[in-house]
Symmetry: C2
Subunit: 254 residues, 2 copies
C-alpha cells in the first residue's frame, strides 16, 4: 500500500489547496485555510474529458470548503488530467469523436468506456480514502460524502455501492445501463440531477437510473435545459444536501 | 369592487399576522414584525380540506417572512376554512370520501372539484392582489410569487397563467388533467414537487404536468416517498427559489 504524500501547497480566498500523489494517482485536497479542525470530507469525481482542477471542480470545492467548512478531495480518473493515456484510452476517445462527428448516439461508447474507467478507479478511490483518513484533520471515523456528475457518477455509483464509509452522495447526468444493478444496492441518501431536455441521455433512461436507487431518502432534481446547462444553483443545493447529511451548517451568503 | 379591511392583528416570533376580509373572502397577511419596509409578496394557496391558517401554511409563512423578509398572504378557498360549504361542496366531499373508503381512484373527483374551485378562486385571488398592492408596504410594482401544492396548484396554475403580475411560482402534487393547457401558457420560472412513490397521483401523470410548463427555467423536485411525505427541506428550497427570483437573500440559519 502506498501512502499519500503532499507535493505542492497553495492558498487563496480562505481555501488551502494541497496537491498529493498516492502511487500513480495524482489528487488534490482542498481545506479551510482557517485551521486544522476536524471536518467532514467530500470526495468529488470529475466529468469525462476533464480533470481534478477543472473549474467545475474548483468552483464546487470553494462552495463546500468556504461555506460548509468541509475538506474536499479530487483525484484524476485513469486516462485523465496528469495521468497517461493508454492505447485503449486513445481508441475509445477516437471512437467517441467519430460518433459525435457523425451525429450518432454516443451512449454505447460512453457507457462501456466509463464502466472500464470505473473498474480501475474504484480501488484507487478506496486507497485514497484510506490514506486521507490517516490525516488528523479528517480522521478514520468522520463523515464522508461523494459528489460526481457524468463520469463522476459512472465511477461514484460502484464506489458508493462498495464503500460503507460514504454515507451521502450527489450523482447525475449518466446512462443507466452499467449502473442500475449497483444503484439497487445503494441505500444512503442521494440527490440526483438530470436535464429535462438532455440531447445525449434519453429522459426515460435518466429516470430509470434514479428509480433504481434503494435509498429511502432520494431526491431527483430535473431542470429544463440541455445536457451542459445544469444550473449553478444545483451546486448550492448539493452543498446544502451535504451540510444536512454530513453535519455542518451552510454559512449565509455574504 | 370591495376593499380590504383588517380585522384582527397579532404578532409572535418576529412575524406580524393580520387577518383581513375582502367582501366574502377571509384571508391573512403575514409580514416581518420589524417594520413596514416595502418587500416582495408571496401568495400562498392552501391544500384541499385545509385552510389559510393550517400549520402547513403558518410554517411556510414563517420561513418566508422571517428568513426572506417577504409578505405572505393566504385566503380561504371556496368551501374551505371560515367560508360556508354549499350543497355542491358537501356532495363532492361526500363523493370523495366514498371512493376513498372503497379504495377506488380519487383522481377523477378531485380533478373536477378542484377545477370548479379554481374557477371561483382565480378572480378572488386577483381582487385580493389588487387590494394588497394598495398597501404601501407592498406597492403596485413590487415582485409577486405564488406558492401552492395540491389544491393550491389546481388554483395556482390558472391564476399564474392569467396573471402577469406573478413572476415566479412553486407548484406540486396534482393531476395534470385540467391543468396542462394552462401550464403551457406559463413562462415564468417554476419549481415543481412530486412524490416518487405517490399512491394517489400516478408518476407519469405528475411528470406530464411538469413537462407541460413553457417556462425556460423550470425545476422538478421528486422525492422518494408517498403523497403526504413531501420532505420539509422542500419548503426551504422554495424559500430559496423565491429569494432568487423575487430579489431577497435567504438569511443564514441560526
Amino acid at each position: 500500500m502506498h501512502s499519500l504524500h503532499f507535493t505542492t501547497e497553495s492558498s487563496s480566498d480562505g481555501m488551502l489547496a494541497r496537491d498529493f500523489a498516492l502511487g500513480e494517482v495524482p489528487g488534490v485536497l482542498w481545506s479551510p485555510a482557517s485551521g486544522a479542525d476536524r471536518a467532514p470530507l467530500v470526495l468529488m469525481g470529475h466529468g469525462g474529458g476533464t480533470h481534478k482542477k477543472h473549474p467545475s471542480m474548483t468552483d464546487r470545492a470553494r462552495l463546500l470548503v468556504t461555506e460548509c467548512g468541509f475538506h474536499v478531495a479530487v483525484i484524476d480518473a485513469p486516462g485523465h488530467g496528469d495521468r497517461p493515456r493508454t492505447a485503449h484510452d486513445e481508441q475509445e476517445v477516437a471512437a467517441l469523436r467519430e460518433v459525435q462527428a457523425a451525429g450518432e448516439p454516443e451512449g454505447p461508447i460512453v457507457v462501456r468506456y466509463n464502466a472500464h474507467l470505473a473498474q480501475l478507479a474504484v480501488p484507487e478511490w478506496q486507497a485514497t480514502l484510506d490514506a486521507l483518513q490517516e490525516l488528523p484533520e479528517i480522521g478514520a471515523d468522520g463523515p464522508v460524502g461523494y459528489f460526481g456528475i457524468g463520469l463522476g457518477t459512472a465511477i461514484g455509483v460502484p464506489l458508493v455501492a462498495a464503500e460503507p464509509r460514504i454515507t451521502a452522495a450527489v450523482f447525475g447526468l449518466h446512462w443507466p445501463d452499467a449502473l442500475v444493478e449497483m444503484a439497487k444496492r445503494i441505500t444512503v441518501p442521494i440527490e440526483f440531477g438530470l436535464q429535462w431536455d438532455d440531447e445525449r441521455i434519453p429522459r426515460e433512461a435518466s429516470l430509470a437510473l434514479f428509480d433504481a436507487f434503494a435509498s429511502t431518502e432520494k431526491t431527483l432534481h430535473a431542470n429544463a435545459g440541455r445536457h451542459f446547462d445544469l444550473p449553478r444553483f444545483e451546486f448550492d443545493s448539493a452543498a446544502r444536501f451535504f451540510a444536512r447529511h454530513l453535519g455542518r451548517t451552510v454559512a449565509s451568503p455574504a
